[in-house]
Amino acid sequence: MTLWRLPLLIAGLLIAAPACAAGAEPAARAALVEKLCGNAGQMGEAAAALSTLAASGTPEEIGWAAPLARAALDKTLACDDTGAVLAATGTDAVTRAPRAPAPDARTPVLSLKNRAVFEQADAALALRSAADPATRTAALATLERRPAALPEGLLEAAAQGETDPGLRTRIETLAQTAALNAADPAARIRAIGRIAEHPSRRALTQVEALAKDPAYAADPAFRQAVDAGLATIRRGIALGDALATLYNGLSFASILFMAAIGLAIIFGLMGVINLAQGELIMIGAYVTWLVQQGLRQAAPALLDWYLVLAIPVAFLVTAGIGIALEALLLRHLYRRPLMSLLATWAVSLFLVNTVRVVFGTQNLQFETPFYVSGGVPVIGDFIFTWNRMFAILFAAVTLLVTWATVRKTPLGLNIRAVTQNRDMAACIGIPTRRVDMMAFGLGSGLAGLAGLALSPIYSVNPQMGQNFIIDSFMVVVLGGVGTIAGTVVAALGIGQINVLIEPLWGAVAAKVIVLLMIIAFLQWRPEGLFAVKGRRK
């Protein structure tokens, strides 16, 4: 903060130097101080001059003017015959050379009206010169009270010099408001055009307020500008909302896909619906959290990378749980689908309650690393957020890796062979039980990765798995058993429909409607979107 100001200050001094040399400036400064010590009218003029300095002065001038406004407000300005002294620092108000005030010095008193203008001048100067962002924020809050009275160019200049992005956005907004309420109708119309270029709900409120402005009824040009601006903003907001819904749907679909692809592989291979898949997602998220906590202890410098470092851990832990589940339980329930279903349900309850006992029921707190925080505002209120992008990219990579595993590796070849015809596969020597086990591990590991990917977006608690299992199951049924393409399309469809319906009729209605749609669809195509080529026994 101070570092960048230093060169600016030097630059300011350099620019100011010729002015000083000309000798014009000390005179102007002395005149200003004299007005500060004058009557109420002169003091008002002084405040206006200070405000103007804040808007268009060099950094050096602003630095000079700032203590004056402050001193007037704090009643620490001691006026005497030779000018005035800043009591806080014990320096001359004009030259800033140390000196003591004369014994008969008096402190000017601000009228109620002048107090407001001095406050504004002080805030304007502080906004441009204070080193501490908190002070600048407070100054901005003061300025926001009376946007119409701000000196021209102040906010533009302040926005340009501002380093804090949040504060800059606020300054820019205030600049727009100020311009909208400016005295000059042409400036107002221009401001409307500028605001309409970046549609948002806030812009809408700002411009809508102008419809109540007297000028709206009186000035047809103004009225036309407001109406056109409103139309543009409304269109932008609608577009932004549509994009936001699509984007949210896409990120939800990504998580669904990652949860469902594992389910689909397992179901295709063994005819077992793994009801514990949702809990494997949950475990994946918890493992991610544990990695974060571990890093916090062991290597705080790497903390930001916990999401990346947790990838292999989450995969291996959940894959291990899946393999254990297959080897200890499902293997013994071979070709008894109902028993297998119940067994996986029991495991899901066991996992939920174990996690509940060990970690408690509250939501876990996750750090937000820089690569998943914030986003790029696109249009309207749609922000292209990085946390959702992370989930989407993650799912895309998972899709690619899964596809490559199933299509290009011997394991994948064996998985496909066993999926399509278990007896035949066994009779050409494929160790079907081992394929089952490894596929179960793969499917479970993918669920763990889903848990990792959703941790920056959704809340993580022991019950979270249940939010996903039903939807993932529907994705599998809709997509057709054991096909990657079907799973992708079905996840996209169900994810989007869910997100579309939810704001209209609520989450429960969304689930019910999606379920009804799937039932209707399966009447028409019982084998799902993409029928797997092969026969099951």
Binding site: P410, L411, L413, N414, R416, A417, Q420, N421, D423, M424, A425, A426, C427, I428, G429, I430, P431, T432, R433, R434, V435, V532, K533, G534
Partner: protein
């Protein structure tokens, strides 16, 4: 190496109270093409199921290579021991290519099958043998019925098995395809390999078989060369005469 590739000894398979195979014994030698015939439901497929480990027998055992007891082993273990079997119902993997069939048949993946150039050589060789060399890249689901049958033979052949069992390899084939299959089966015959063929087509059986076993209600009704089979009164009675 013993002379007997497969020895089936006192085998009984029951489905509930129904005896699909009833105290059946038979021996199949290396270098032999054995046909197993019999009316529908005679237990031919069930016999192959037991040998390949899909069905567990109630009694009896199956010895491979004269001494290795394979009863009760898993399908994959039996397959890896060198016994391969083509199913009666069409059993190609429709989503895999012809080449991939031969590759998994040859044992890529988990087992120490051939890899790299050796695998490619083996695939090429097998595809040549079964006459599908020009179809290597196609999906099995797109093949004609006859080609599927040959693909299945190629798949079980790929690992160079000691015992090759084919369940109805010419069912539904044209005469010309049947003739080609017969030539193929004869070409696969080797001194260190036993081939078992289950078939209803008598002309086909006559062309390929060294010896014929006639099953009836889970028991051996007759065993001998084809011309003797045709002459046997009992066989004519239960099977050919129908």
């Amino acid at each position: 190496m013993s002379l007997t590739a497969l020895l089936v000894d006192g085998l009984t398979v029951r489905f509930g109270s129904f005896h699909a195979i009833d105290d059946l014994s038979l021996a199949i030698d290396y270098g032999e093409v054995r046909a197993v015939i019999g009316p529908n439901g005679a237990g031919k497929t069930t016999l192959l199921d037991v040998i390949s480990g899909i069905t567990r027998p109630k009694q009896g055992r199956v010895l491979f290579d004269g001494r290795e007891d394979i009863t009760g082993r898993s399908e994959a273990a039996i397959a890896r021991a060198g016994i391969r079997r083509k199913f009666q119902k069409p059993s190609v993997f429709e989503g895999l290519t012809v080449r991939q069939h031969i590759a998994i048949g040859a044992g890529t993946g988990f087992r120490r099958g051939p890899e790299g150039p050796a695998l490619e050589d083996r695939i090429g060789e097998v595809l040549e043998t079964v006459g599908l060399a020009d179809q290597a890249g196609r999906l099995a689901g797109e093949l004609g019925h006859g080609q599927k049958q040959w693909l299945e033979i190629g798949m079980v052949l790929a690992s160079d098995p000691r015992v090759l069992m084919l369940d109805e390899p010419v069912a539904g084939l044209t005469d010309e395809e049947t003739a080609r299959t017969a030539a193929l089966v004869r070409a696969l015959n080797r001194p260190d390999r036993a081939i078992v063929v289950v078939e209803h087509d008598m002309d086909f059986v006559e062309r390929i078989a060294d010896k014929v076993t006639v099953l009836h209600e889970g028991r051996t009704l007759f065993e001998g060369p084809m011309d003797k089979v045709r002459a046997d009164a009992g066989v004519v009675d239960v099977y050919l005469g129908r």
